[in-house]
Amino acid sequence: MARKKKTDMLQGMLDLLILRSLRGGPLNGWDVMQRIQVVSGDVFRVIPGSLYPALHRLEASGLVKAEWGASDNNRRAKFYKMTAAGKKQLDAEWETWKRFSGAVELILRDA
């Protein structure tokens, strides 16, 4: 029960992190995972079990587009690219997040 709650809570944030990591250009699932993990200084560990459903959900809602291509070591891999809608969504979510986190920060600091 607790686990489900956690997933629900994290879902919106995972989408946001994925979209953010795709802002620099198309990446495959593995790279997305690595990037999130590395940039967050190993704080966030995304497991494939939630990463891929999230990617496919984003794809289904048209925020990212998937394409097969060659990875750097020349293997076939699926690359995800942010769409214009995805970009708008990212900006909007980011704003929301900034407001939200700013609010939380304020409360934690001053309350």
Binding site: N28, G29, W30, I47, P48, G49, Y52, E59, A60, S61, G62, W68, S71, R75, R76, A77, K78
Partner: protein, 882 residues
């Protein structure tokens, strides 16, 4: 909302696609994770286990559940096909070479199959053809006699036999067609009642014969061939019912036969009913009929043989004069029709299968080498829980796909090859080959090609697939992608394939070599005539005129005088049967005066030719002894004959035959003096010893039908119309036919041999090329695998010559084993070809040795190219490459 719905719908429709893509995506992920784990210091097994653990075991569960759903094999097949196609397209070079090799093998097989199918398996398409038989006469005790039948014996069989529903006699007959202008002569047949019915053949226009057409006193009718109809009447259906003047009598055209009806394959253009009058119907002396029959349902050939044999034995007792020693020979009609072509079938089929096997070995080798580079992919699949069976199936699907692609390409090649082949045999010759007109692409051939391609795909895929699936994935994941099939088993398998390729290719090459030598011998052999610039034309005096022999002599003497007067004519003569013309033969029994006599009908038989004095010079047959005919050897002079060397050898061993006398077996003529010996002229096959032949002067035996032999000073074809003019000037009613140069007749006789040599030669060349590619590929692979080793050797100071020797030695070993096996195979198999060989034995040492050297040289070249690369290895680069 709408786009979401669309995606969902699409996903639903492309469910398998989505699922498979997901699989691949996840597999990629696990692979990357495994690699990273290895980099961070885990051992490969641990790395993979950790990667799977991180994934939560999803993949394993997924693979397992997929195998469990047995009913979804179709879906899996589709996946495999798509995946296979993608893997093939990923390495277009390898795929193309493999498909091309397969195509060569498939093309060879498809083409030969279509030949065998149309000309041997189903040479004709008659109703009840399993029950049709051919019945011949022959001396009892012969193994495979096929002698023509006398009308009296045919009548016996027809009346008394209990095995056949029907028996029909066929007489070959010339028809002189005159429609106002100069008559033209056509070959045709007269057939007894029931001919068309028995074969189940209907006319394309009009009708076939009815029983009343064969009743005496009924109007004369004729059915004509499709070809004749097109040529003579431009395909006008209104010809049915039209009257034709044939041999001076009025015939009504009642039917036009279909384009594929050409029975009995002797170039016939028309069929008329054959009715015997009482006297002719009981003739047992003249044998000139071909008899075919329809067995009663349930009656076999053996039974028919026994039944008809009983009748023949009865006739022997009843008519000892004519029938002593005469037996009956029964064959299935198909066997009878294809006996000339069937001998070539096993060789052609065998050769084409060899080509296919070589190409399969080649492709198997390519796939083996490639399988090595795919070991990691396969190992990951195995690691993810795929069963080995599933992997084998995936790889087999891929190779069958490759086989099908090769087959499609081969089919195209083969359509082209069939076109070339069907133009390779002159039409005048082809009409003697049953089923030739139906040769080409058909659904049966297509089905054959499809099945062959699929089996070839499975065949060349099996070894690599099995080998790959045996992969130990621990090693593979750990390894650097090049260990694996360089292990003992893989190397031995590849070596064995190369040995097989070399052996098969050498066997084919030797077969081709023998055929080429044999053809060369045939071409070089002295035919006994001079084929250049000789034109032959048949001139037949009509049956209703020229009753007096002197009239015939007069006609031909004046005609030849006119022709000799033409400026372009060097020599001219006439003969009753032209050598190499396929006009058949006229044989006669002879008795040498002063030598022991033989019982009637058992004496020696010789070929009998009637010639004018100018004939020998015109055709280029030289005199060996004595003198040639002169104008003085006429009807009033004493009978004389010339003999060929074969007669001299047979009857006068070591003695001078000139001045001896001989008697013709029919006893109707006086004894004749042998005045000279002429050179042998080869028989119709251009190969065997010449037939013993006796020549009589035309002036003493004036035939109605003679063939002008004209030796021109230049191209003789242009003389034809002038000669026709001369004939017309003498008598408008005399037909001229069978106008052909001697060279052309000889070429026609040679064409099957040329075709056979060409086909086997092309097969052998393809085999040599494929085997060379096979060796090249294997040695290249070995060199690539050992680059580092060679680099070290060179760095340590090895001479490049030593490395060269090392690599070539490896190739040479395989080649020599292959050559040894190939020689042994050829030694056993070429005996089957003896029938086609002339002037060279089936184990001709020169051919065996020179062809082996060729094979070895090509193999060495194929080794040398990659070996040189081994010596050019830069040690630094080789070491860094690790």
């Amino acid at each position: 909302m709408l786009s979401r719905l669309k995606t969902a719908l699409g996903a639903l429709l492309r469910k398998t696609l989505v699922e498979r893509e997901l699989d691949e995506e996840l597999r990629y992920h696990i692979e990357r994770q495994t690699e990273q784990n290895i980099r961070s210091g885990m051992n490969p097994e641990e790395a993979r286990r950790e990667a799977l653990k991180a994934f939560g075991g999803v993949g394993q569960a997924k693979e397992r559940s997929r195998d469990a759903r047995g009913v979804r094999w179709l879906e899996e097949l589709w996946q495999d096909l798509r995946f296979g196609a993608r893997m093939l397209l990923k390495r277009p070079g390898v795929t193309f070479v493999a498909a091309l090799a397969t195509a060569l093998g498939i093309c060879a097989n498809t083409t030969i199959f279509s030949v065998v199918h149309s000309m041997i398996m189903r040479p004709f398409n008659f109703a009840n053809q399993e029950r049709l038989i051919a019945v011949w006469e022959g001396n009892t005790g012969d193994v495979n006699a096929r002698g023509p039948v006398a009308p009296g014996n045919f009548a016996d069989w027809r009346e008394h036999n209990g095995a056949c529903e029907r028996l029909v006699a066929i007489e070959q007959r010339y028809f002189d067609l005159s429609d106002g202008d100069q008559p033209e002569r056509f070959n045709g047949y007269r057939v007894t009642e029931g001919f068309f019915d028995m074969l189940g053949v209907k006319a394309a226009y009009g009708r076939a014969f009815l029983p009343e057409d064969s009743e005496p006193g009924h109007g004369r009718v004729v059915a004509i061939s499709h070809k004749f109809w097109l040529r003579r009447f431009a395909g006008d259906p209104k010809v049915v019912g039209k009257a034709l003047t044939l041999n001076g009598e009025n015939f009504t055209v009642i039917g036009i036969m279909g384009p594929d009806f050409n029975y009995p394959y002797r170039g016939g253009e028309m069929w008329a009913p054959l009715v015997f009058d009482a006297k002719a119907g009981h003739d047992r002396e003249r044998h000139f009929l071909r008899v075919i029959g329809l067995l009663k349902p349930g009656v076999g050939i053996k039974q028919a043989r026994a039944d008809l044999g009983e009748i023949a034995r009865h006739a022997e007792r009843q008519f000892p004069e004519t029938n002593t020693g005469r037996g009956v020979y029964v064959y299935s009609l198909k066997e009878d029709a294809v006996r000339g072509t069937a001998v070539a079938a096993p060789i052609l089929i065998g050769a084409s299968i060899f080509v296919l096997l070589i190409s399969c070995a080649n492709v198997a080798n390519l796939l083996l080498a490639r399988a090595a580079t795919r070991r990691q992919e396969i190992a990951v699949r195995l690691a993810l829980g795929a069963s080995r069976r599933r992997i084998i199936r995936q790889l087999l699907t891929e190779s069958v796909l490759l086989g099908t692609a090769g087959g499609a390409l081969g089919l195209l090649l083969s359509v082209w090859a069939m076109g070339t082949l069907s133009h390779g045999i002159p039409e005048d010759f082809a009409q003697f080959i049953p089923g030739y007109e139906r040769f080409g692409m058909s659904w049966t051939v297509f089905t054959f090609t499809l099945l062959t391609s699929l089996s070839a795909g499975a065949l060349f895929g099996l070894a690599p697939a099995w080998h790959a699936a045996r992969t130990d994935f621990n090693d593979a994941l750990k390894g650097d992608g090049k260990g694996g099939s360089n292990t003992g088993a893989g190397r031995r398998l590849r070596g064995a394939l190369v040995v097989a390729e070399v052996a098969l290719s050498l066997t084919l090459l030797i077969g081709a070599g023998l055929l080429v030598r044999s053809l060369a011998e045939t071409l070089r052999a002295d035919l006994g005539v001079r084929p250049e610039n000789v034109l032959a034309l048949q001139v037949a005096l009509p049956p209703d005129g020229y009753r007096e022999e002197s009239q015939r002599i007069d006609f031909f003497t004046r005609l030849l005088r006119d022709i000799e007067a033409m400026p372009d004519v060097a020599d001219a003569g006439a003969v009753n049967i032209v050598p190499f013309s396929m006009m058949g033969a006229n044989t006669v029994g002879v008795q040498i005066v002063g030598q022991p006599t033989f019982p009637k009908g058992r004496g020696p038989i010789v070929h009998h030719r009637v010639a004018t004095p100018g004939y020998f010079k015109a055709i280029g047959t030289a005199l060996r002894k004595g003198r040639l005919f002169t104008d003085q050897d006429d009807a009033r002079a004493a009978p004389v004959v010339l003999i060929n060397e074969a007669v001299a050898r047979r009857f006068f061993a070591g003695r001078d035959p000139v001045g001896e006398r001989l008697k013709f077996g029919d006893g109707k003529r006086d004894t004749a003096e042998i005045i000279g010996v002429v050179t042998d002229v080869k028989n119709e096959d251009l190969e065997e010893q010449a037939d013993p032949t006796v020549y009589a002067p035309f002036a003493q035996q004036p035939w109605r039908q003679m063939n002008l032999i004209i030796h021109a000073r230049q191209d003789p074809a242009s003389l034809a119309s002038a000669v026709r003019g001369s004939v017309r000037a003498l008598d408008r009613g005399v037909p001229v036919s069978y106008v052909k140069t001697l060279r052309r007749m000889i070429d026609e006789r040679l064409s099957p041999k040329r075709m056979m040599t060409l086909v086997i030669g092309v097969f052998a060349a393809a085999a040599l090329l494929l085997a060379a590619v096979g060796i090249y590929a294997v040695i290249s692979y070995v060199v690539a695998q050992r680059t580092r080793e060679f680099g070290i050797r060179l760095a340590l100071g090895a001479q490049s010559g030593a490395v060269l020797k090392l690599v070539i030695g490896q190739g040479l070993k395989l080649t020599l084993i292959g050559v040894a096996l190939g020689l042994a195979g050829a030694f056993m198999l070429t005996r089957a070809m003896s029938f086609f060989l002339f002037g060279v034995t089936a184990t001709d040492p020169l051919t065996f040795i020179s062809v082996s050297l060729l094979q070895a040289a090509v193999a060495l070249l194929a080794c040398y190219l990659p070996a040189r690369r081994a010596t050019k290895v830069d040690p630094l680069i080789a070491l860094k490459a690790e």
